[in-house]
């Protein structure tokens, strides 16, 4: 009995070693550094809350952080509002057409992130596709700077880039709904709207939350998109963290902000988990 038990423990430890070395240890070291202090590019190794006090006491940082969360929530909301109908539409297709369309919807995931960013930048710019179209339709009489190098541009770009991450889980949730439930709903006298609202929507809710969570976490940590299309007003906490590490060489402060961002993402995950678990399926 005993040897087998120890063998089991050994296997467990070996298996746990990989995630510990690759995930837990780096995060742990980050958290530790965030309690140190930087003095002229020198890290002073004594525990202090200096970085956290600095962050919450300074509106420049706190405001950027709150603004970033708001932006991410907007990205989530728009992504879900746009992605859900697309996923629903794909789900309504029959046979092989359905999977072809699904493939088309997720193809952007196989493309380079930077390529997508440049493409969007050129489309949203002064002489870009969007302005050209609005001009030729007569909606604008001169090219507008409305779409690039501001917070709005960050929002639009993030939604376009992260859309596949909402479409996919929502589609999978929709597809898991047995057809007989939809037949039963109609059989009991419900119209299309009632069936959607009372059966399809609640049953696809977990997938929708999963998609929203993906987008939220990805958008929260994204510092390249704001850098590329955000201009001066599209400043996010990701960019601030990046500058602390890359430009200011204040690693402890950067680590503290990264830790706060990490906890924010964790809170998002827990809230999503709570939302799903409240629903009995």
């Amino acid at each position: 009995m005993m040897p087998r038990l120890t063998a089991r423990w050994l296997i467990f430890l070996l298996m746990a070693a990989v995630p510990v070395a690759l995930i837990v240890a780096p995060i742990g070291s980050f958290l530790l550094i965030s309690f140190f202090r930087a003095d002229k590019h020198e890290i002073i190794r004594e525990l202090t809350l200096f970085n956290y006090i600095n962050f919450f006491g300074n509106w420049t940082y706190l405001g950027t952080y709150l603004g970033t969360i708001l932006l991410c929530l907007e990205v989530v909301a728009v992504s879900v509002l746009v992605g859900y109908p697309i996923a629903w539409f794909i789900w309504q297709q029959k046979g092989s057409r359905r999977y072809l369309m699904l493939l088309l919807a997720v193809v952007p995931l196989f493309m380079s992130y930077i390529v997508k960013l440049y493409t969007l930048r050129s489309m949203l710019g002064l002489n870009g596709l969007v302005n050209q179209m609005l001009l030729s339709l007569g909606i604008l009489d001169k090219p507008s700077q409305f779409f690039l190098f501001n917070q709005r541009a960050v929002l639009i770009t993030m939604v376009v880039i992260y859309l596949p991450f909402v479409i996919l889980p929502i589609f999978l949730a929709l597809e898991r709904i047995p057809r007989s439930l939809l037949h039963a709903s109609i059989d009991l006298g419900a119209g299309a709207w009632d069936t959607f609202r009372r059966i399809v929507l609640p049953l696809s809710f977990p997938g929708t939350v999963a998609g929203a969570l993906f987008v939220f976490v990805l958008a929260l940590g994204d510092f390249i998109t704001p850098q590329m299309v955000g201009g001066t007003t599209g400043f996010t906490i990701g960019r601030v963290i990046f500058s602390q590490f890359g430009l200011a060489f204040d690693w402890p402060f950067g680590a503290a902000m990264a830790a706060i961002l990490f906890l924010t993402a964790l809170a998002g995950i827990l809230m999503a988990g709570f939302a799903i678990s409240r629903q009995k399926v």
Binding site: S180, L181, H183, S185, D187, L188, G189, P202, L203, Q279
Partner: protein, 349 residues
């Protein structure tokens, strides 16, 4: 009046899965569509329910043409094979779904739902979710959800297929009781012969997209009109032969008497069908000699398999009461059996 199917057919991609068929169902009747898988019985149910469009023919209800009406505009409700309960709703919400989406007055609906739960015996479980119910309980919810809508016809698609044998028998009795109580037409689909015989007012036997025979359980069982129907219930004895006159058939076992029939011409190729329980030990007007090749004691009944002396390739199934001393026969024992000509049925090949 009731429900009427007139020359209804169904094809998928140029393949006719249901050949034109006509059928009338009286109000309050318990009608069973019986057949093996692929016989088209579920297709008929789906056409009646409005889940599938007819390729030809028309469907009438109370004299009104409902062929083009969608499922939610027909006064029918379905109990699905996998129950199709809404997993995110409690029992009472599932049952209340119909009244809710049909915009019934909430007060009246509440009373109706409570009464229905009472009828199917689920009042105590009303706040459970489907995942917390047993198979039989789910079945009751599915039934309650249909009858709460007060439909004119309830369609049941192999509702007992997923239940174990004991529960199945209980549910058969239960379904029949409910049907008698609410006096609604039940159209029941099954592939189980015993289920069909014990529950139905009338049975529609189907095979390969066609109706083989329609009749009461007794008619279907004792007066099969086709080879398929004769062979579908129990281990019927089917002996090929030619009609030798109005009251005899020439077979490999000699000339066997039948009840006088004017339906078939002399010389016609026929099958003689004799139920295992119609064969008796002993000599009579007709005697068939043979020997026992197999005997199975099954409690109430003992099954015997006999090989005929005159034609060793013909075997006969026989049933004797288990408490009959004479049924204790060793393999190889020579026996003589007889039957009442009135119990023999002639089927044209």
């Amino acid at each position: 009046m009731g429900l009427e199917l007139r020359n209804v057919s169904k094809s998928y991609a140029h393949q006719e899965v249901l050949h034109p068929l006509s059928l009338e169902v009286a109000n309050g009747e318990f009608l069973t569509l019986l057949g093996p898988s692929g016989s088209g019985k579920t297709t008929v149910l789906r056409l009646i329910g409005g889940f599938s469009e007819v390729s030809g023919g028309r469907i009438f209800f109370e004299g009104k043409d409902i062929t083009g009406a969608p499922a939610n505009r027909r006064p029918f409700n379905t109990v699905f094979q996998d129950y199709a309960l809404f997993p995110h709703m409690t029992v009472v919400q599932n049952v209340g779904y119909g009244p809710l989406v049909q915009r019934r007055a909430p007060e009246a609906a509440r009373k109706l739902i409570a009464d229905t739960l009472e009828i199917v015996g689920l009042s105590e479980l009303q706040d459970r979710f489907p995942a917390q119910l047993s198979g039989g309980q789910k079945q009751r919810v599915a039934l309650a959800r249909a009858i709460v809508c007060e439909p004119q016809v309830i369609l049941l698609d192999e509702p007992l297929a997923a239940l174990d044998a004991t529960l199945r028998r209980q549910m058969q009795v239960f379904l029949k009781q409910i049907q008698r109580r609410i006096r609604t037409t039940f159209i029941f689909v099954t592939h189980d012969q015993d289920e069909a015989i014990t529950m139905s007012d009338r049975i529609v036997v189907m095979s390969q997209g066609r109706i083989e025979q329609v009749g009461t359980p007794r008619e279907i069982y004792f007066q099969p009109r086709t080879h398929f129907v004769a062979g579908f219930f129990g281990d019927n004895n089917l002996i090929p032969g030619t009609l030798a006159g109005p009251d005899a058939v020439d077979t490999a076992l000699g000339r066997l008497p039948i009840a006088a029939s004017k339906q078939h011409a002399s010389g016609a190729k026929v099958l003689l069908a004799i139920r295992p329980e119609s064969l008796r030990l002993g000599a009579g007007k007709v005697s068939i000699a043979g020997e026992v090749v197999e005997t199975t004691f099954g409690g109430a009944l003992t099954k015997l398999l006999l090989r005929c002396k005159k034609a060793p390739d013909i075997t006969l199934n026989m049933r004797l009461a288990g408490n009959d001393r004479a049924s204790v026969l060793d393999i190889g024992t020579p026996v003589t059996v007889t039957y009442n000509p009135a119990d023999a049925v002639v089927i044209e090949e």
